[in-house]
């Protein structure tokens, strides 16, 4: 999952630095992720993982770092399996 997220982030995140230079915990907004780009990342992740972000997770925190995105996606997949 980490690899897919990194690939999508590199493709649509519009970051001024290479994704390989960003650690899992690094602040993506500080690295140059704009709020509009974070929306594009969100839409790309939804398509790649066939999930839908609930309104409650559509916020800055969910996309603050690669680790945060991973945790958010895992949470959505888990709640879908539980349903």
């Amino acid at each position: 999952m980490n690899e897919t997220i990194r690939e999508l982030l590199g493709r649509v995140g519009g970051l001024p630095v290479a994704v390989t230079d960003i650690t899992d915990e690094a602040d993506l907004y500080a690295a140059g992720l704009s709020s509009f780009a974070s929306v594009q990342v969100m839409l790309a992740i939804e398509e790649a993982f066939d999930i839908e972000f609930p309104d409650s997770l559509l916020n800055r925190k969910s996309f603050a770092s690669i680790a945060a995105i991973e945790a958010t996606v895992a949470q959505i997949i888990k709640s879908r399996e539980a349903a």
Binding site: S35, V39, L58, N59, R60
Partner: protein
């Protein structure tokens, strides 16, 4: 009866607003304009000493600047573009035939011009200031007013498609512009009190488009980027935003290349007055005849 329709009908009956046949597009009477002029003088009295540079733009802006602004990313449903007939004689004949028959949409071949209707009074300002080079030490302050367009037809007289927005825009360091915003939140509350209006301040809820917009609005709320001063017009439960206080962080500075004297990116903030909404709040609160308004309110506006 629908309360909103009824307030609009009362405004029509009193002649304050003039029906054009399109929801949200109204004429204004001399009396209505006089209230707006009086309130703008009050704004001048409160903010005039700050030394803002005044600029007035028409309600249309350069389409290239509009595109750079990113407005279409957030509010495509509200934007208005100006289209014109650009064909030759034969096209003209076909156009007239099409209009006469009325079966086809005669506007379908109209071409986009270089003009887009201004969505907020400050939009033409940023590229204008950027052209001047680095901002002076101590930042910069501007005073703007323009008719603005938003495509949202409604029977709510407080939601018009063409309305005026008065703005102050501040550019400088983060501390400078957030202090500016805070001072206007305090001033706004005090001004409304002087003219007898009950207000509350709350975090804004802008109508960003679609699911992506849900994320934009959550980000805006989480970061306390925009506050609104609310006054009851149509309902006490859902008061109307009559002023807004926006902190853009360095997003406009980065987008337009607005730099401080030392070359660092400027932060920006703006405070906006919805002039028609404020006039409507006054008419709704104090009555449709200004002669009946409380003496202290009349004194504050015309004294």
């Amino acid at each position: 009866m629908d309360m909103q329709t009824s307030f609009l009908d009362r405004l029509f009956d009193a002649g304050l607003l003039i029906d054009t046949g399109v929801d949200g597009l109204y004429g204004r009477s001399g009396q209505f304009e006089d209230v707006i002029a009086a309130f703008e003088r009050l704004i001048d009295k409160v903010g005039g000493g700050d030394g803002a540079e005044a600029m007035r733009f028409p309600p249309g802006m350069n389409r290239a600047f509009f595109e750079t602004s990113g407005y279409m990313k957030s509010f495509p449903q509200l934007a208005g573009t100006v289209h014109s007939f650009c064909g030759g004689e034969l096209d003209h004949m076909n156009l007239l035939k099409c209009m006469e028959v009325g079966e086809e949409d005669w506007t379908k071949d109209q071409k986009a011009t270089d003009i887009v209707l201004t969505p907020a009074a400050c939009y033409p300002l940023y590229p204008t200031v950027a052209r001047r080079g680095n901002l002076p030490a101590g930042g910069a302050l501007f005073d703007l007013q323009s008719y603005c367009f938003r495509h949202e037809p409604s029977k709510d007289p407080a939601r018009q498609q063409l309305f005026r927005m008065r703005e102050y825009v501040c550019m400088g360091t983060e501390q400078h512009v957030t202090d500016f915003r805070q001072s206007w939140m305090d001033r706004g509350v005090a001004m409304m009190k002087v003219v007898g209006l009950d207000v509350t301040i709350d975090i804004a809820n802008d109508p960003f488009f679609g699911r992506a917009g849900k994320m934009m609005v959550n980000n805006q709320r989480d970061q306390n980027l925009k506050f609104e001063l609310l006054i009851p017009i149509n309902s006490a439960a859902n008061p109307t935003a009559c002023m807004s206080f926006n902190y853009h962080q360095d997003s406009f500075g980065t987008k337009w290349g607005l730099n401080l004297e030392d070359g660092s990116v400027a932060h920006t903030a703006c405070v906006g007055f919805g002039l028609e909404r404020i006039a409507l709040a006054l008419f709704h609160t104090h009555g449709l005849d200004v002669k009946d308004w409380p003496e202290h309110v009349r004194a504050a506006l015309w004294g």
